[in-house]
């Protein structure tokens, strides 16, 4: 591969980079896929209690069907043996319909295969508000609510904290800086905890905002009023999330920027007399871009799953409360569906991060294949 012409050597170098990245990416993709499959399989086993839920389900089917048959006037005249025979056949049919007659191991593999193909199946107990039984429909129906709430709060926290941290790292030791350090321990409590207090103060002691839910009941007709109502309902949960993580977030970013702004090359730039904005943009932010993007992506991942407890406290109809309800109903397809969706999103985000790293960080590009 020795070419005398410099431009073509350059091109080969570029090709070699690309090949390395491709090789690296496919390896990562495979690893991620295997990881997701193992994670999903574990969830399947846990959500079925290693097969014990099946026994519960069979009992439930039996009691529902025998009650139905006993209550049906059409079968009242039937002799009792014939009736129990009828119950037996109906139970058997239902058991076969739900594949409960197969051993759990076979079915768990079957679940896994369907999950891998993102075929989430039908819910057993739950249905969406429009009446659909498809797990996909149920999840998609709840997704916007979660994305709206957690997206608003997390984006707010992310951008406010990064900007505030940059500002504070320049004014190290100032009064604002010390105030943030002093307030950072307040983040020991989770958002739902502040939520309870916010509900107490702003929904009961001074009733200015609704204590929970997503829109007024009944929902307003005009689109404009509907949006306004949703926004009013969002104020308290967003404030709770914002307050519970903003100070720790600013604190950790501030520390991070402080460490990076004491690097030798930054000192050097300062000694050269470069303007502060240039130092911040090119000497502090550029090398720290990968960690910032990582944390942004991790925040996006956290966003998808929502939060069971915050949604419960604020009665928010999102994915978190969906998962909680599904667990309560022992509706395995919905539980597995939520976890599968989460796992796939996580894998996609991690994979995108790998590509981004390769573009942003020259070190990854060079060492990628090794």
């Amino acid at each position: 591969m020795t070419s005398p012409l410099p431009p073509s050597a350059n091109r080969f170098g570029w090709l070699r980079d690309l090949r390395r990245i491709a090789f690296f990416m496919s390896k990562r993709l495979l690893a991620l896929f295997v990881t997701v499959m193992i994670g999903v399989y574990l969830t399947i086993v846990i959500a079925n209690m290693g097969g014990q839920v099946d026994e519960l389900r069979e009992l439930q089917i039996r009691s529902t069907i025998s009650e139905q048959v006993r209550a049906d006037p059409a079968f009242m005249q039937m002799p009792s043996e014939e009736r129990s025979e009828l119950i037996e056949t109906q139970v058997l049919m239902e058991v076969q319909r739900r594949n409960l007659d197969q051993p759990f191991f076979v079915r768990s593999i079957d679940y896994l295969r369907q999950a891998a193909q993102l075929d989430l199946g039908r819910a057993e107990e739950m249905h969406s508000d429009t009446g659909a039984r498809e797990v996909y429909d149920i999840i998609v129906e709840r997704l916007p609510a979660t994305l709206l709430l957690f997206g608003t709060a997390n984006l707010l926290v992310f951008f406010v904290s990064v900007y505030a941290a940059l500002y504070l790292s320049r004014r190290y030791g100032s009064r604002a800086d010390r105030a943030v350090i002093a307030l950072a321990p307040s983040s020991a409590a989770p958002a739902w905890f502040y939520g309870i207090f916010l509900i107490l103060f702003f929904a009961f002691l001074a009733p200015v905002l609704p204590p929970g839910g997503m829109v007024d009941i009944p929902p307003p007709d005009s689109r404009w009023e509907y949006g306004l109502s949703v926004m009013r309902h969002m104020v308290l949960p967003v404030t709770a999330m914002f307050f519970s993580s903003i100070f720790i977030s600013i604190y950790s970013w501030r520390t991070f920027f402080l460490i990076h702004s004491s690097e030798d090359y930054v000192e050097m730039a300062r000694a050269k007399g470069l303007p502060a904005s240039l130092i911040q943009g090119r000497y502090i932010l550029r090398p720290t871009l990968s960690p910032i993007i990582t944390s942004f992506a991790l925040m996006l991942i956290g966003l998808w799953s929502g939060s069971i407890i915050l949604e419960q406290v604020f009665n928010w109809p999102g994915l978190g409360s969906l998962l909680f309800q599904a667990i309560g109903y022992r509706d395995t397809p919905v539980i597995i569906g939520s976890v599968v969706v989460f796992a796939y999103l996580l894998a996609v985000t991690v994979f995108m991060l790998d590509i981004l790293y390769a573009i942003l960080d020259p070190r990854v590009r060079i060492e990628g294949g090794s």
């Binding site: 999903v40 574990l42 209690m49 107490l200 204590p211 998962l323 996580l346």
Partner: protein, 443 residues
């Protein structure tokens, strides 16, 4: 050791560390005091509720809170027949007994409920009682009569006939002194409930106890099952501290050992650990805990086990690995190898102690996370079935719509204790962080 001592001395310079330590010390003392004064079995018994709380009012606020707000809500009054001047008249085959249960009522608010508890012993037939209520103005309100079983309760407040006659609920009407039903005012003074009883048999004995339930109770108030919230608030402390501490110790130490093992052996071991960590990150912790709670058992110790199990391969491994990698090739480890130290010795005695100081702040700040995790589970209704904890109090309050009904103390007191725990450990942890990681201090 010297390093630790100097760290402790440096810690004194941080007011937040002192504050945090003070809070933690307070919580530990409270926990010890609780465990000594209310033994475990007794606490479970009390929290199970039932008859032992029969003379505690339902949903009463704390006394001090009411007094601070300038209120004058009544406390519970218990009048027992042992202190009453009993008149007796014997007749053939039995006795006629008159028990006057006298008490002063000088509060401006009405009581929340009135019950009369009766118990008879001896005698060959059921006793018969007739009740009369004497107000300070001399009015006599008959409350009817009935037979008395061995152990009986007359719920004066839940007497619909009486309510109809008074035009108000009995515990208001009996104290209203004939004021307007629309705007009843308490008539203060001496009240008397006379129990006229006929008991059969010479050895027959009748015990009566009149309970005029107040609207405030003790330091912490009571809940919807009449239980004194103090039991749960106090017992919540040792439970929270133990859960937080054990979970934090369990997860950090196992994670650290596994990270160190992976770094030391490298190769396949390291790769396996890395992959396991990635699988574990996919498994969402809270949903799994909720699943375990709903499907298996909500015992706090099972939850603790699951938390530790899922915490072993947590994301922390990646951080520790990054810290340990440069240490692996440092000269002191090569020296240890040269004189023949084994793998275990190198991992446990040479690698882990090296990054322990960096870990201590993380460890301290991790404790409240687990305390709040336990509370989160309890708020979702997956608290330990028998143990009183702060989270369970919050859960009860939520299911009983405490905020909607205005029982703010029910939500605020466990929340304040949780917050105190969180703040105490977090403040100490942040100060420790600055002591042990000097890079954050100097600029």
């Amino acid at each position: 050791m010297n390093r630790w001592l100097s760290a402790m001395q440096e810690l004194r310079r941080y007011p937040s560390a002192i504050g945090g330590l003070a809070i933690i010390l307070f919580l530990i003392l409270l926990a010890v005091y609780t465990v000594v004064t209310i033994p475990y079995g007794e606490a479970l018994d009390k929290w199970r509720g039932g008859d032992m709380w029969r003379s505690t009012p339902v949903n009463a606020g704390p006394v001090w809170l009411d007094r601070v707000m300038g209120g004058d809500k009544p406390r519970t009054r218990i009048i027992h027949s042992d202190d009453a001047q009993i008149e007796e008249a014997a007749f053939e085959g039995g006795r006629q007994v008159r028990i006057p249960l006298v008490f002063d009522y000088d509060n401006s608010e009405f009581p929340s409920e009135i019950n009369l508890f009766l118990s008879t012993s001896g005698g060959d037939r059921e006793a018969f009682i007739r009740l009369n209520w004497h107000t300070p103005s001399g009015e006599v309100i008959p409350l009817g009569g009935q037979r008395v079983a061995r152990s009986d309760r007359v719920s004066i407040s839940q007497n619909p006939a009486l309510e109809g006659r008074l035009g108000m609920v009995p515990h208001v009407g009996l104290f209203a002194g004939g004021s307007e039903p629309g705007n009843p005012q308490v008539a203060q003074g001496q009240y008397r409930l006379t129990v006229d009883a006929i008991v059969f048999g010479d050895d027959a004995k009748l015990d009566t106890e009149l309970v005029v339930y107040g609207r405030v109770h003790g330091l912490a108030g009571s809940d919807f099952q009449r239980r004194d919230l103090m039991v749960a608030l106090m017992w919540g402390t040792p439970v929270a501290l133990a859960f937080g501490l054990l979970a934090a110790v369990g997860t950090t130490i196992t994670t650290l050992i596994i990270a160190a093992t992976g770094v030391w052996f490298g190769g396949l071991v390291d790769a396996t650990i890395q992959r396991l960590t990635e699988v574990n990150i996919i498994l969402p912790l809270l949903p799994i805990l909720v699943m375990v709670g709903t499907l298996y058992s909500t015992s706090i110790w099972l939850m603790l086990g699951v938390v530790i199990l899922l915490g072993i391969f947590s994301a922390g491994i990646k951080t520790y690995r990054a810290m340990l990698l440069p240490i692996k090739h440092s000269p002191y480890i090569e020296a240890a190898q040269a004189y023949g130290a084994g793998n275990t010795r190198i991992i446990m005695r040479y690698m882990i102690p090296r990054i322990l100081p960096v870990l201590i702040p993380t460890f301290v700040t991790l404790i409240p996370t687990f305390v709040f995790l336990e509370a989160s589970l309890a708020v979702l209704g997956l608290g330990d079935p028998v143990l009183p904890t702060w989270g369970k109090v919050l859960n009860d309050a939520q299911t009983q719509s405490a905020l909607y009904n205005g029982f703010y103390y029910w939500v605020v007191s466990p929340a304040v204790l949780l917050m105190l725990t969180g703040l105490g450990f977090a403040m100490l942890g942040f100060a420790l962080d600055r002591v042990f990681n000097p890079r954050l201090r100097t600029q």
